[in-house]
């Protein structure tokens, strides 16, 4: 009802522009010369004459039409019949196909030795398998279940890890999976690190962690690590540890001159799905089609539940939202905006699934130079932040204020930064007063944000941060922006005073978050040996309480130092047709498509 009103308004506005300008000029013409009126009259009369003649023609035409009507109707009838049959067959097909809309796109490749982007990993998870994987609906992300490995045990010093492999698993081409494949996969990943510095194994430092991989038996394999590493299972569960078939994933470097840097080899995997179609235009995906893998080791227990998954790619979230709304797609996952999600939540024709998030954003300070080379300034700014109002305004409450770099639900999560409070202006003022900053002599710095949509609504966030900081009365912020690549360049060149950055977990473990406080690649120029030591201790123990204590200590130091200030943790959601079931949005942020099915 009230939509119609809006339509009316918009249409009227448009017509308004055109007509008004037309009439305007016309009015002035008539003013300047009246004779045009006579023209109009004459043209009008002639038009009327034409009209009458055309009417006559129309009559004759209609007569002819009437004659042909019978044939028309017959033709129509059997056409409808044909269409009906088509629809029936389509309906039958539909039940075993799910169409997924997304704004993501594979950045570059599906090769575990290189891929390091969310969607690349998402697709790989559907088509590949790792030794272990995180159980669906895990809350901590720390409970692992066997995948290609049936069982495992670790030496007390956390240096040697033995795995017993699942038997009679076959690759698509019939090769039987065994220990050699495991060794080959990891050796290859490590071997390729130098030539693919941007690849995931490089990022996760496989070469530093893994000393060597030994084949104990056809179905037994041993990893020997360089240092005790409690989160090793996490590493093994991530996509970079996917097992590949050497015949399709050769050791030849993904080299820069041979042309195809993608080097994606869909047949190399043993996952629940095959990659049957992958079309790219320019360097973004147009269509990805997954077909069920009949040889999947878990096929017996009915996985994957849906035969075909088809991905469709949209450039912006609103188009995606409209598509799911119009029923063009069965499921929209990744980058339905909070606004749209909340709208759709009350729409009976779709279902919104809410899940826990693990994506965090945080504020970095450039400590090479003033003002942020002084700890107190950093603390003062951190205290002036207003996380909750930002989350309320920008994310409409669909993300939560974060007071520790480790997201809630995960081992070692604390509320450490609550000490400084939100919009704690009295504290900020007093701190800055010590340094001679006040209403007249404000603390001024540049706050940078990424402007090409790499992070969710980063511009809006920045605006809100600026507002909150300046509300203290003693801070004045200049907003600066750069597109993703330039942003990274600026970061490496250390020219940004303060900048908002984000982190997606490679594997769900505090070990993959805590180091962010002093991560060298953030170029904050912050070092802290003690924190590093604590971090290594945490790696070296499996005792969960001990580990969480250690991470808590790291957090507490971080609050004093404020080298990196956690801002918020996002929550995740997916939108589907009501008929879709089996969506699992747990802390791992993985969408496991083999669990999804259409319920009648």
């Amino acid at each position: 009802m009230w939509n119609k009103v809006e339509v009316a308004i918009v249409v009227l506005v448009l017509i308004g522009i055109i007509v008004s300008s037309g009439t305007m000029i016309y009015a002035f013409n008539t003013m300047s010369n009246l004779s045009t009126l006579t023209d109009d009259v004459t043209t009008l009369t002639s038009n009327v004459a034409n009209l009458t003649s055309t009417v006559r023609d129309l009559a004759t035409i209609t007569a002819l039409m009437a004659q042909n009507m019978t044939q028309f109707s017959k033709a129509l009838a059997d056409l409808q019949a044909r269409l009906a049959s088509i629809e029936v067959s389509l309906a039958a097909k539909a039940k075993e196909t799910i169409i997924v809309g997304t704004t993501d796109s594979v950045e570059l490749t599906l090769d575990p030795a290189q891929a390091y982007d969310y969607f690349g990993w998402c697709i790989m998870q559907q088509i590949s398998a790792t030794l272990v994987s995180v159980a669906p609906n895990s809350t901590t992300g720390a409970d692992f279940e066997p995948n290609l490995a049936q069982s495992w045990n670790v030496s007390s010093d956390l240096l040697t890890w033995d795995f017993t492999l699942r038997q009679n698993v076959t690759f698509p081409d019939g090769t039987v999976f065994n220990a050699t494949h495991v060794k080959n996969s990891f050796d290859r990943a490590i071997y390729l690190i130098p030539s693919i510095p941007e690849g995931a194994p490089a990022g996760l430092e496989y070469d530093k962690i893994i000393n060597r991989t030994d084949i104990l038996d056809t179905y037994k394999v041993r990893f020997v690590l360089n240092f005790p590493f409690s989160a090793f299972l996490g590493i093994l569960s991530c996509r970079a540890s996917a097992i590949v078939d050497p015949t399709y994933a050769p050791w030849t470097q993904v080299n820069y001159t041979a042309g195809n840097a993608r080097g994606s080899t869909p047949l190399a995997f043993v996952g629940p799905y095959y990659l049957s179609t992958w079309t790219r235009v320019g360097s973004s995906d147009i269509e990805i089609k997954l077909d069920a893998n009949p040889h999947y080791w878990n096929a017996a227990s009915g996985y994957p539940k849906t035969k075909h998954i088809i991905f469709r790619f949209y450039t912006d979230s609103s188009t995606l939202r409209l598509a799911i709304e119009a029923g063009d797609i069965d499921m929209a996952f990744r980058h339905i905006s909070p606004t749209d999600a909340l709208d759709l939540n009350v729409n009976p024709n779709v279902k919104v699934w809410w899940g826990t998030g693990a994506f965090v954003q945080y504020l970095c300070f450039q400590e090479k130079r003033a003002p942020f080379n002084d700890k107190r300034v950093r603390v003062a700014v951190a205290a002036a932040l207003n996380r909750s109002s930002m989350c309320e305004t920008v994310f409409l409450g669909l993300s939560d204020p974060l007071y520790s770099i480790i997201p809630p639900g995960m081992l070692g999560h604390t509320e450490a930064f609550k000490k400084l409070g939100d919009a704690n202006y009295t504290y900020t003022k007093s701190l800055l007063a010590q340094l001679g900053y006040n209403e007249t002599n404000k603390l001024t710095f540049e706050l940078w944000y990424e402007s090409s949509g790499h992070y969710p609504s980063s511009a809006d966030q920045a605006l809100l941060y600026k507002e909150a900081l300046e509300a203290s009365g003693v801070i004045s912020v200049t907003l600066k922006s750069a597109t993703w690549a330039s942003y990274k360049l600026n970061r490496d060149n250390e020219i940004m005073d303060a900048y908002v950055y984000g982190w997606y977990p490679d594997y769900v473990d505090p070990d993959d978050y805590s180091f962010l406080y002093w991560a060298s690649w953030l170029h904050t120029n912050y070092q802290n040996a003690t924190q590093g030591a604590l971090y290594d201790q945490a790696r070296a123990t499996t005792n969960l309480t001990r580990r969480s204590e250690l991470y808590a200590q790291i957090d507490n130091m971080a609050v004093e130092q404020c080298s990196v200030v956690p801002l918020y943790v996002s929550s995740a959601w997916a939108v589907t047709k009501p008929t879709i079931s089996g969506i699992c949005l747990d802390i791992t942020q993985d969408m496991r498509y083999w669990l999804i099915y259409i319920s009648s």
């Binding site: 918009v10 448009l14 007509v19 045009t36 840097a261 320019g282 360097s283 450039t315």
Partner: protein
């Protein structure tokens, strides 16, 4: 001098223009801030690897040498025959062949451009003729007003409004993509969905791709039609008052003959040239339209590459645009010569 020799000279004349164009693009892309290679190495900036990459991208050479590579790569016929696309260098982000990416993205843009050009010229010329025939009447002023307004509307705003009305509220037409997601796109033959689907003989795909084309091409068409209206109108008015038109009337020829065979046919030549020029503007508008309608074309490619600061890719795409425009203007000039006997003197 006959038509043939004219064509030949015209083609020869295109070459220096092209060369100039390429040079400019090259220079624009090379006088940039920031070391593109440094971008690639995010976490481990290993100087030795960066050196290697410079070598592989040919960026270790002096500028003139790079320029030479760039030009010679473009005209390398063997490469073209081998790959099916010219050598436009490698993407700095992905090291993929820019030529391949650009060529794969181009058909979408071309399809959009063609359809909108058809809409624009059809609408523009028709309205223009009507306006000029009913000179100084209300209709005339209305049409002119419309033309003026179209010139002032940002193309993407019009696109958004059309989306809002026909996509969001009325649900008549899709708001994005080249084809309804539930339909598998036709096999790539020409890359133009409408053509391919017809070649494949699949009418469902054809209609779907046509439906998807309506809004974007209308958007672009509307924006451009204004210029055609104005041009057609002025030229028609001029020719309609030329003596040979009056003379034709004086010989008792029919109104229609005089209007179309005499007036329009003579007014058409400047319109044709304008079409050529407008194609450039149209391609520019296409970038915004593609962004508005999730249209996977060259424009979207550029925008996306910009975010990666992928200079070589942007350069490749820009060159592609340039080549296309040059080609179009060449064709237009030849058509011009074909239609206008006087040129052939």
């Amino acid at each position: 001098m006959g038509l043939r020799s004219y064509v030949i000279t015209r083609v020869l004349l295109t070459i220096p223009t092209l060369l100039l164009l390429l040079t400019m693009v090259f220079l624009v892309m090379r006088v940039l801030p920031g070391d593109p290679v440094a971008l690639h190495f995010e976490k481990r900036a290993d100087p030795e690897q960066m050196e290697q990459m410079r070598r592989l991208l040919g960026m270790d050479k002096p500028l003139w040498a790079q320029y030479f590579d760039y030009i010679s790569g473009l005209v390398d016929i063997n490469y073209f025959s081998a790959h099916g696309y010219p050598n436009l260098g490698r993407s700095m982000q992905s090291f993929e062949e820019v030529g391949g990416q650009v060529f794969s993205a181009f058909p979408a843009t071309l399809e959009l451009a063609i359809y909108s050009m058809i809409i624009a010229s059809a609408m523009g010329i028709l309205l223009g003729v009507i306006a000029s025939k009913s000179y100084n009447s209300f209709l005339d002023h209305l049409i002119r007003g419309f033309g003026t307004v179209t010139y002032a509307v940002p193309v993407f705003f019009l696109g958004i409004i059309l989306q809002l009305i026909f996509g969001v509220y009325l649900h008549w037409l899709p708001t994005g993509l080249r084809i309804n997601p539930s339909v598998t796109p036709p096999p790539t033959i020409t890359g133009l969905y409408t053509v391919d689907s017809l070649l494949q003989g699949n009418f469902v795909t054809f209609f779907e791709s046509l439906r998807a084309l309506i809004l974007p091409s209308l958007t672009l068409g509307f924006i451009l039609s204004g210029i055609f209206i104005r041009l057609t109108r002025t030229n028609m008015l001029e020719t309609l008052h030329l003596d040979f038109v009056t003379a034709a009337k004086a010989r008792g020829l029919k109104e229609s003959t005089v209007t179309y065979d005499y007036a329009l046919r003579n007014a058409f030549l400047p319109i044709l040239t304008m079409m050529g020029l407008q194609f450039a503007m149209l391609l520019g508008g296409a970038i915004l339209t593609e962004t508005t309608f999730s249209w996977p074309g060259l424009g979207r490619y550029i925008v996306q590459r910009i975010n990666f600061r992928d200079y070589t890719a942007i350069q490749g795409a820009v060159v592609m645009f340039g080549l296309f425009v040059a080609l179009v203007s060449l064709i237009v000039d030849i058509l011009y010569a074909y239609f206008d006997p006087r040129i052939r003197l």
